[in-house]
Subunit: 342 residues, 2 copies
């Protein structure tokens, strides 16, 4: 058992073989969902109540509710954190999907990493805003009561997007919740699952966040900034408990649950997606490869496997793959609800 | 020598004592400045030329030039990067300092992490932009040719800031250069130092970026996403060569150089600042502690030690500590130039 770590190409760099020295057993992550090892954010109860009220309100009006997770998680290396591990994710998929879910009649709880992309805001994301603003008139520039307007040559869609955003806000279709660290994420996801359990199969979980698989427990974390003055750094990271397991089994057993699987190696992708469905018994895995994720995904269910592909024509027309993903999943969710009610 | 690693509280977690097994020697970082182990960004030559032209232009007009580095560096754990190490830094100090340097008559090369804070843009930083925009009139909202204006209740300074920004742009006082990874940063800093060496003591280096002390060499990096299916993760990180050494000695020996020292433990801060000055023989270390960095820094030179503190009164008046830091350093730079010319 312990020996297998020496043959694992991903256990890296491989530890030197030391004759007669037994390696420590890998710590298996607990899956009971207590999250005792992770500090809860102080506002978790308050957020749980907000989410429950939001879900109840919309479900009673016959509206389905999706919890979207989006962005990467931060894993501190010191308790007074200067350094941290992060996961690549701008939050583009989550933010864009939120817009399509709202378009499809859903109410959205948007559980996202602080400063990751936000629905209807992606046009601003890598923009120096001052390049998109101008004085309304030349006289304005020299007056103190100058009006500053958006340059519609820079943002040709600003009118449409602002209208849409204001409509969504007026109808309270979007509830934003922020996380920063892995600990925040785990506790807030648990709270959201408990909040959404009251609406049964009307709830969808769309778990698009890039969540760390590894972390350093608070008890093993140094308080202060790690010093570089004494040589190279060795880090030992524990495995993060798979929260999908209690979510599906205990917290929201009637919900429609979608997880995401991102790999860089296409050869192992589908097998890993299938294994996740076997292990966690949820409804869908959306499988994608880092380099092609904007134009190609596979929607995997226990019975089916559907490729969604953007053609050159689609890309010319600025079709986003999230439009296709959301369309596929909202249909599947509808079917799921009607089957539950039989 | 190797034994000392067992007693180092920062070599963490401490490796188990294995009788008779010698630990590997710490790899000492090369300081010759070749950067062979780090992949250069493809546009480094082009950027070097831009920076040299920018510096030459301003110096010949009698204007001093400061190279500001800002934001944290990204250290990939895989060559097709899903995971990375990062350093805490929003880039606030660098961006704000750039504004004060321009105010003081400097031209600024702003070498910053992609998406970190940008001069004159900090008000937008944790803002949902759509909350700060509105239709110019109620009729506008329903028209296709609607004008969208900035809500000056949200951004009361927008007129002043936009004017300032446009002025700075017109006078070409700010040259932005972006980095993302540690490798980008190292190569671009080297290029900037070479570019600025032509203007001698008119150049200041204000190295405020939070640069990783550790990295994984390309040769030891796995290609694909590290798998979590086979147990905990052990990482071995090399030390990043101290680039300050060749910068001061070889690349820009006549420049006025300021490095930053950020610690979480105030007890070791000043000793570390002094040790840095002894080691690298540059002019100034700005020393600060994570928790109090917005209100307290110590400017350390070989001869002096000056505390800069914001009072409650200052904070009420929204004074920024960068104003004080820049004022201290521009005076010192002036004196430095006149001494060089004696």
């Amino acid at each position: 058992m312990a020996e297998s770590r020496f043959n694992n190409p991903y256990f890296w760099p491989p530890p030197p073989a030391v004759p007669g020295r037994a390696m420590a057993e890998p710590r298996t992550p607990s899956t009971d969902g207590t999250l005792d090892e992770f500090a809860a954010p102080t506002h978790v109860e308050e957020v749980r109540e907000q989410m429950a009220a939001f879900a109840g309100h919309h479900a009673s009006a016959g509206r389905r509710v999706v919890l979207i997770t989006s962005g990467g998680t931060k894993v501190p290396l010191e308790s007074r954190t200067v350094r941290f591990l992060d996961n690549f994710s701008s939050g583009r998929r989550g933010a864009s999907s939120a817009e399509y879910f709202i378009e499809s009649g859903y109410a959205v709880i948007f559980l996202h990493r602080h400063r990751s992309l936000y629905p209807y805001n992606s046009m601003f994301s890598s923009m120096n805003m001052l390049e998109a603003l101008k004085f309304r008139s030349a006289e304005d520039a020299s007056s103190d009561a100058a009006e500053v307007v958006v340059d519609q040559q820079v943002f040709p869609n600003i009118t449409k997007v602002l209208k849409k955003y204001q409509e969504v806000k007026e109808n309270r279709l979007l509830l934003p919740v922020e996380f920063n660290t892995l600990s925040d994420y785990l506790h807030l996801l648990k709270a959201s699952a408990q909040a959404l359990s009251t609406i049964g199969s009307m709830a969808m979980f769309y778990l698009a966040a890039a969540v760390s698989d590894f972390y350093i427990p608070a008890s093993e974390m140094p308080e202060h900034k790690i010093q570089s003055s004494n040589g190279p750094l060795q880090l030992s990271l524990n495995m993060v408990p798979k929260i999908l397991s209690p979510l599906v089994k205990d917290w929201a057993p009637q919900a429609f649950v979608i997880s995401f699987k991102l790999e860089t190696d296409p050869h192992i992708l589908l097998e890993k997606a299938r294994r996740a469905l076997d292990t966690y018994r949820h409804q869908v895995v959306v499988a994608n490869v880092l380099d092609s994720r904007r134009g190609y995904v596979v929607v995997v269910t226990p019975e089916t496997q559907t490729e969604l592909i953007l053609t050159d024509e689609d890309e010319k027309n600025e079709v986003e793959i999230e439009d296709r993903i959301v369309s596929n999943l909202t249909s599947a969710h509808k079917k799921f609800i009607s089957q539950q009610n039989c």
